[in-house]
């Protein structure tokens, strides 16, 4: 008894350490399906995240008061600048839509199936794991908001990570720079595929690219869609350094497009749809038509108006030609007060990526792009597609949307 009393502290230390080592061994042995530590994690998250939520809410509210009421200087100038940018982009899109049409025709010939993001949910980042070895953040959306594990998380700048664990009203997002993360990646110019991984130091590298391939710094990196989590074509980042790696592979360092150390709002991709690519039926838009729409002094073509009348369609005047647009979507941002800075990236701009264009409808996006587009939408509304006056309106494809 004396011995037990004398070495009581040491015995307790050994006991506590043994219990924890045993617990570690059980966790290592178990598969990811069964999580023996779930209860501890729920308690810990339930203790810490309410404080984080309250603090973020207070911070956001204060910030909103400042930005909405006091800090309005320069808004008009910014508005003018944005309008000018829209004008330029509308013309730019005419050129891009022709490329997209061509891509769609080729895809249809090859019976391509394409993925596109049809529903996202805005979420606010409320906390981090607090460890350099675990690069993950908590968001203020959980099971009650329809979040599920393995959903993609993105921002307007690029991809962020995936949902790893889901709790009642929060979720844990594993960032792409964590060492346990893996994303299918595609180099934009060379079209080489590899696996994007995080390193213990928090850097992002692409693995499994052979050393005889020519990869240059500055090349864009996109998602390949091979991981089954991120749809193809989302912007990941830019190659910053290429060096010889081990075992005949290149060591390609990537700077993520999204600033992973300063995340505030993110979008969780809650629904990805897949459909067969269809060739354009209506013909491409012309730059002159876009200009005609904008300049009231340019009269519409009289033949088109006559044909439109014969066809019995309600022809918009002046004519606003469109590219193929199986569905037209009016994006509405949802979420809990979290406002994403902008729509997610035009991941494949120049390769058929959809972009908002000025047509007869107030807002439209081309949903049949070869690449995917992340939109800050939750419940897309379908508008009738504007038609050329000479063309009979065709049946709209069913739009699979399930708003929350």
């Amino acid at each position: 008894m004396d011995v037990l009393g004398r070495y009581r502290n040491l015995i307790v230390l050994v006991g506590v350490l043994f219990a924890q080592v045993l617990g570690l061994a059980v966790q290592v042995k178990r598969t990811t399906d069964s999580e023996p530590t779930r209860l501890i994690r729920i308690w810990a998250v339930g203790t810490v995240t309410p404080l984080e939520k309250a603090l973020v809410w207070a911070q956001t509210s204060t910030g909103n008061i400042w930005h909405n009421y006091f800090y309005l200087r320069g808004v008009r100038a910014e508005n003018r600048s944005l309008k000018a940018q829209i004008e330029r982009m509308s013309l730019e899109q005419v050129r891009m839509s022709q490329d997209a049409d061509q891509a769609r025709r080729l895809q249809a010939l090859l019976a391509f199936k394409e993925q596109f993001i049809s529903q996202t949910m805005a979420a606010q980042v409320i906390g981090s794991s607090g460890s350099e070895l675990s690069r993950s953040v908590y968001i203020d959306k959980g099971v009650s908001d329809g979040i599920k594990p393995d959903m993609a998380v993105i921002t307007a700048d690029g991809i962020v990570g995936k949902i790893l664990r889901v709790y009642g009203s929060t979720s844990l997002v594993l960032l792409i720079n964590d060492q346990t993360s893996g994303v299918g990646a595609l180099l934009d110019k060379t079209r080489l595929q590899g696996i994007l991984r995080g390193t213990p130091a928090g850097e992002v590298v692409i693995e499994k690219v052979m050393s005889d391939e020519a990869v240059l710094a500055g090349e864009l990196v996109l998602t390949s869609g091979g991981d089954g989590i991120f749809p193809k074509g989302l912007l990941v980042g830019k190659v910053t350094k290429v060096s010889a790696g081990s075992e005949l592979f290149l060591n390609i360092r990537v700077r993520p497009a999204a600033d992973l150390s300063k995340l505030e709002e993110v979008l969780v991709v809650t629904k990805i749809d897949e459909r067969q690519a269809q060739p354009d039926q209506t013909g491409a838009a012309r730059a002159v038509d876009i200009l005609a729409e904008r300049l009231p002094t340019v009269p519409a073509k009289p033949e088109n108006a006559e044909k439109g009348a014969v066809a019995g369609t309600t022809a918009p005047a002046p004519v606003a030609p469109t590219t193929a647009a199986p569905m037209t979507v009016a994006p509405t941002t949802t979420g809990s007060g979290a406002k994403p800075k902008a729509a997610p990236p035009e991941a494949s701009a120049g390769r058929g990526g959809p972009a908002a264009r000025k047509t007869a409808t107030p807002l439209s996006s081309n949903g049949t792009s070869s690449a995917t587009k992340a939109t800050a939408i939750d419940a897309p509304k379908v508008f009738p597609k504007p038609v050329k006056s000479a063309v009979q309106p065709k049946a709209q494809p069913a739009v699979q949307d399930s708003p929350h």
Partner: protein
């Protein structure tokens, strides 16, 4: 006033109120999770470790030190996506060691606290590294400049944390 007698020296033993015992570790874990979002450089600090050392040296009870370290570590583990027990084991050892050392040394002055924090920061890092690599099979990065910077920064912050803990500790 209860006094412990070790090697002929009289060392004062302190205790903390129940709210302080619960809220200070919770606040440390919360700040460790929240501050890096606003100030990314804050990841070099380990506030829960500093609180573990601070509590252990003030109480000077190995049993209380190891249990406090164990609970703080497990709470910290639970917020990560890694296995539970990595921080738990490391902080258990630090809690036990700090309280055992606290019995033998005078840790009331800032210099001693600075050195003590450096020592236990290294112990914590080494134990964590070994467990993460050996038991959990994680790849670990070791950068000497980063570790030196982190060690110094934690030691400086540790002196401040100890001063704050001095305000809430009570003589037994």
């Amino acid at each position: 006033m209860a006094i412990t007698y070790t090697s002929g020296e009289q060392v004062e033993v302190y205790r903390f109120s129940i709210p302080a015992t619960i809220l200070i570790p919770l606040a440390a874990v919360f700040l460790q999770a929240w501050l890096p979002l606003r100030f990314p450089f804050f990841t070099i600090f380990d506030l829960p470790l500093l609180v573990t050392i601070g509590f252990a040296t003030a109480r000077r009870s190995p049993l209380a030190g190891l249990l406090t370290g164990s609970l703080i570590g497990i709470l910290q583990d639970a917020l990560t996506h890694q296995l539970i027990g990595l921080y738990g084991i490391a902080k258990t050892i630090v809690g036990f060691g700090a309280s055992s050392l606290g019995i033998k040394l005078d840790v009331e002055n800032a210099g001693a606290r600075f050195l003590l924090t450096i020592f236990f920061y290294v112990v914590h890092k080494v134990v964590y590294f070994m467990i993460a690599r050996g038991l959990a099979g994680l790849r670990m990065a070791w950068s000497w400049p980063h570790e030196f910077l982190s060690c110094g920064a934690n030691a400086l912050l540790g002196v401040l944390v100890f001063m704050l803990l001095d305000r809430v500790k009570q003589r037994t």
